[in-house]
């Protein structure tokens, strides 16, 4: 079966001043999905998105955006929120939204009407004629997001959309992303915060050191790790110990190990028959963070955590 792709990239390479930024990126984003690109700062996420959108040209490789080899040809049906937000400070919120729509071919009068609707629907009717320079950073970011979707694009590209937003605005943004996807829009966003991707995305790409380390469904990423068993027993010794995998570890007062390939039932039977005296047994499905560590490595995971911490501090 052929999947209808909103974005397809093969072997994208890009260097800046001789230093490689991305090295052979392959991405396939099916239409109508929410797609996340995960990676620490400097991994190549923004460079990848900028190449996909045609802001910069790859040194090597090819990409198509909504079927167009030249991304600007699809500009009318694409929305883009760059990592470094950009608005004209003297413009009013309504004019700023309408202007961004006009850049994508939306008539200004239609853009103004839609801007008013977007602001009203999001409880921001009082801000219609406020100049951008009078808004908080988070509010200005929200306005730019409205400008990104005012022309009702088929594809929305968001570069680190959650950075700089407080919890309320992050929740609002998640809601908007889900709404966009529900209306059939493809949404692709980059983030260094794993839980946003985990909550929103069907598919992800994990990028580190300028290379894709994983690309596929979130569930596939998780399935790369076996579920973890956590076991606490009354007995410390006995025949039951023979049923534990060789790499089982004692952590504090309990054991931790990967669920054996045979499943939980044979293990449970062996523990009971062997007189373990089970006090607690739980099976934990690995999270995306664990999958990320397994796929991209500890170092990349640490960088992600540092990036996230810096983002929160900012």
């Amino acid at each position: 079966m052929t999947v209808d792709l909103a974005i397809e990239a093969r072997g994208l390479f890009k260097s800046f001043d001789g230093k490689p930024a991305v090295r052979g990126i392959d991405i396939a984003v099916p239409r109508g999905t929410i797609y996340g690109i995960l990676g620490p700062n400097g991994a190549g996420k923004t460079t990848t998105l900028r190449m996909l959108l045609g802001i910069i040209e790859p040194d090597k490789g090819r990409r198509t955006l909504l079927g167009h080899d030249r991304p600007l040809e699809a500009a009318r049906i694409v929305g883009y929120l760059p990592e470094e937000r950009g608005l004209y400070p003297a413009m009013t919120t309504k004019e700023a939204i309408a202007f961004m729509g006009a850049l994508r071919g939306l008539p200004l009068d239609v853009g103004r009407k839609r801007a008013e609707i977007l602001l009203r629907e999001n409880g921001l009717a009082d801000y219609v004629d406020k100049p951008i320079k009078s808004l908080s950073k988070g509010m200005a970011q929200t306005i730019q997001l409205f400008g990104t979707i005012v022309h009702k694009p088929n594809l929305v590209v968001l570069d680190e959309p959650f950075s700089g937003l407080d919890a309320i605005n992050q929740g609002r943004l998640e809601h908007m992303i889900r709404d966009e996807a529900a209306s059939g829009t493809t949404v692709i966003f980059s983030t260094h915060v794993i839980h946003h991707a985990e909550r929103l995305c069907e598919r992800i790409a994990i990028i580190a050191g300028g290379q894709i380390r994983f690309e596929g469904l979130v569930s596939e990423a998780r399935d790369r790790l076996r579920p973890q068993v956590r076991l606490r027993t009354r007995a410390t010794e006995g025949a039951w110990r023979g049923s534990l995998p060789a790499d089982a570890e004692i952590i504090g007062d309990h054991w931790e190990f990967e669920l054996p390939a045979a499943g939980i039932e044979p293990l449970l039977k062996a523990l009971i028959d062997g007189g373990a005296g089970i006090e607690e047994l739980s099976i934990e499905r690995p999270g995306l963070h664990d999958a990320f560590v397994a796929i991209a490595g500890e170092a990349a995971a640490r960088e992600m955590e540092e990036s996230e911490a810096m983002g929160k501090a900012a």
């Binding site: 600007l72 049906i77 202007f99 071919g105």
Partner: protein, 415 residues
């Protein structure tokens, strides 16, 4: 994707409104008027001061009859010449030793004499520094000669009655017409140059706003960079036309006011070779072409600057370039041919100024059509080179695409 022109107009509209509706635009409109008024006032004051300062005063130390004869001769000659041509004479009664008196008069700073003329009509003596001969000597010779001629005629009893020259009025004389047309040519060049200098350097910093507030990323993802550059040029050209309309309108009102006060309203009889209406249209077209050419260049150069300091540093060479081009264009006014003339016509940055001068001195129209097409072509080339350079160096894009690719004109996907 929108057509290049549609995209450029979106950019142009935003820039135009942002500029024209800003408070600083009022200053932008008012300052040249204030500066012009101040220059006119200062010029008038300077003329008056120069008139009294630049005109040498000569002490006339002679007996009464000689002094009166020389003073009368000066007055007669002055009647047909500009007042400042001849030195002023101030009669001083002669002392016993005229030589010593002359030196004392010249040494006295409060009196301010440039020279002293003494002696008689038959043996006049001019006392003063050696430079005096260059400044006043030759002109005093005219005065002395006239005084002696009149004295001789009086002695001979001959009276010469003044005769009025009969006037036969013609529409124009070729010599005058050429002079006037060259004046119009240089005036129009100066006008275009002045307004362009005033406005085009603004374009140096025009992309700085988008670079500093990161809007450039949004623009680059939405429309071709050529459209961004073209839109900015159109906006600034429109802004400059608002200024020109105001300044030109005020100048026209002033002109009409003067004419009405004088009870007649006419255009100057001697005009440019192509006629006034067409000439005014050509001035506007060449102004537009000149502005777009220099503006595109400045926008491209300014786009490379990463901060205000670099923009300020670039301003001087850019202004010098404009002055150099202006001087080339002024030099070839009225020239019939030659390498420099053809260079001025063909070099894109001097072409508008040289061609507007041609419109004043030659009535052929087809060279203007060719020149405007030629200049427009260069505007396109400069915009394309500038936007590609911007993409390569500022956006760090590896490949900027073909310089002459016309794909960007195509319309793209739509909802």
């Amino acid at each position: 994707m929108m057509s290049l022109f549609d995209a450029a107009m979106v950019i142009a509209r935003r820039d135009f409104i942002a500029t024209v509706y800003s408070r600083s635009f009022v200053l932008f409109l008012a300052v040249p008027l204030v500066v012009f008024a101040a220059m006119v006032f200062a010029s008038a004051q300077t003329d008056e001061a120069q008139r009294s300062e630049a005109q040498p005063v000569v002490a006339l130390v002679a007996d009464t009859s000689t002094a009166q004869a020389l003073q009368s001769a000066r007055d007669r000659l002055s009647a047909g010449l500009p007042e400042r041509i001849l030195p002023r004479l101030r009669i001083v009664a002669p002392a016993e030793n005229v030589d010593v008196q002359a030196r004392r008069l010249l040494a006295d700073e409060t009196l301010g004499y440039s020279a002293v003329i003494s002696g008689t009509l038959e043996r006049p003596v001019l006392t003063g520094p050696s430079k005096v001969d260059e400044i006043v000597g030759a002109r005093l010779q005219l005065v002395v000669d006239d005084a002696r001629r009149v004295a001789a005629l009086e002695r001979a009893g001959v009276t010469v009655q003044p005769v009025a020259i009969e006037r036969v009025v013609t529409a124009q004389a070729a010599g005058n017409l050429q002079m006037i047309r060259r004046g119009i040519a240089r005036g129009s060049q100066g006008l275009i140059f002045g307004v362009t200098v005033l406005l085009a350097t603004l374009l140096l910093s025009n992309l700085a706003e988008e670079k500093s507030n990161k809007v450039i990323e949004v623009l680059a993802a939405s429309v071709p960079l050529d459209a961004v550059f073209l839109g900015k040029l159109i906006a600034m050209l429109g802004t400059s036309f608002v200024g020109l309309a105001l300044w030109g309108g005020m100048a026209a009102l002033g002109y009409l006011f003067v004419q009405v006060v004088q009870d007649w309203v006419t255009m100057p009889q001697a005009g440019p070779a192509v006629g006034w209406p067409l000439f005014v249209i050509l001035i506007l077209l060449y102004y537009g072409a000149n502005y777009m050419l220099l503006g595109a260049l400045f926008l491209g150069i300014g786009g490379q600057a990463s901060n205000i300091r670099e923009i300020q540093t670039l301003s001087m060479p850019v202004t010098m370039l404009q002055v150099a081009v202006f001087l080339v264009a002024v030099t070839v006014v009225g020239s019939e041919g030659g390498a420099l003339t053809w260079f001025a016509y063909l070099f894109p940055f001097s072409s508008p100024l040289a061609m507007v001068a041609l419109a004043s001195t030659s009535s052929s129209l087809w060279p203007h059509l060719l020149a405007l097409v030629w200049q427009l072509l260069w505007v396109v080339v400069i915009i394309r080179v500038s936007s590609r350079l911007f993409r390569l160096t500022v956006l760090k894009s590896g490949s900027a695409g073909s310089l002459f690719s016309l794909n960007f004109w195509r319309k793209g996907a739509s909802n």
